[in-house]
């Protein structure tokens, strides 16, 4: 089994296990944790599919934004005080060991690269616009160009009976990009207006109104 296939199976198992954890968990904060596991694994699957920008965007926006806003919702609508928790010394020791090993791994990886050679090689690569996605490392450039309307594509036409490859300019995604920008503005204004502070109905008033003519 290649490393590619092994990584796919690991992250696929994590994504499916996290999704199962969301369904089977009983407490809402544990569901949020399993959702973080599942969405992070889907981001890793994006990296395996050569969609690097999308994987990074998934981690930033989904895990770092949407989950945080869900946890805010849980905190704002929770009834009662949460218990005060302190980690046991065994847990603290385990956490320190994990953090130290992660730090050691990062140091080892950074230290084993010849940075002078990397800089020399990067300086000699020409910045041409690759038209296709699915190749390693060029998806971000193609995505950015397509979003501002510049989208070259390689088509094979028949000229004098022989297939000839030429680069044509296809329509990009400038209009959906602008529409989504305005959409985001409208949605955020609407959410801010909907969630403005209002009078909250008391619990006693609810019981009185539901125990009445019902």
């Amino acid at each position: 089994m290649t490393i590619d296939a092994l990584l796919f199976w690991i992250f696929a198992a994590l994504a499916c296990g996290g999704a199962l954890g969301v369904v089977l968990a009983s407490r809402i904060v544990r569901m949020a944790f399993w959702l973080v596991v599942s969405l992070g694994s889907v981001a890793a699957l994006f990296f395996l599919l050569n969609a690097e920008f999308l994987g990074a965007a998934q981690l930033l926006i989904y895990v770092g934004g949407t989950i945080v806003i869900l946890v805010f919702g849980v905190m704002l609508t929770a009834g009662g005080a949460a218990p005060r928790l302190k980690a046991t010394p065994g847990e603290s020791l385990l956490c320190i060991a994990v953090a130290a090993s992660l730090f050691g791994l990062c140091l080892f990886t950074v230290g084993s690269v010849d940075w002078v050679e990397v800089a020399r090689r990067q300086g000699s690569i020409s910045h041409e616009n690759r038209p296709t996605a699915g190749t390693v490392g060029h998806g971000t450039h193609a995505l950015g160009s397509a979003l501002v309307g510049f989208r070259p594509a390689v088509v094979t036409t028949n000229k004098d009976g022989q297939p000839v490859k030429q680069v044509v300019l296809q329509t990009g995604y400038l209009l959906p990009f602008e529409i989504i920008s305005v959409h985001l503005l409208v949605v955020l204004l609407g959410a801010a207006y909907l969630a403005r502070p209002k009078q909250r109905r008391e619990a006693g008033a609810i019981a009185a109104s539901s125990g009445g003519p019902a």
Partner: protein
Amino acid sequence: MGAIGLHHYMMISAFLLATGITCMVTKRNAIGILMGIELVLNAASLNFVALGKYTRLGLDGQIFSLFIIVLAAAEAAIALAIVLNYYNNFVTIDVDRGDELKG
């Protein structure tokens, strides 16, 4: 075990979709329902990116997934505003208790 093909990714996406729908249907907590919606959107997103790599869809799959991420974030903001309003009216986020239309 052979190379990872398109059908592997589509099976994972199908599992995420089914799990997300189960979560939406069985949870009584309103925020639990939102988590199911996020799972379903991620399943569609993964499907698009996998098709983008393995078929002629190419860059379009990744661009559509980008739009899905943006729209899901916007929808989560509005849904949470709705949940806050629900909590203000019913003092609970149990969706089974919202059974009176009179606000």
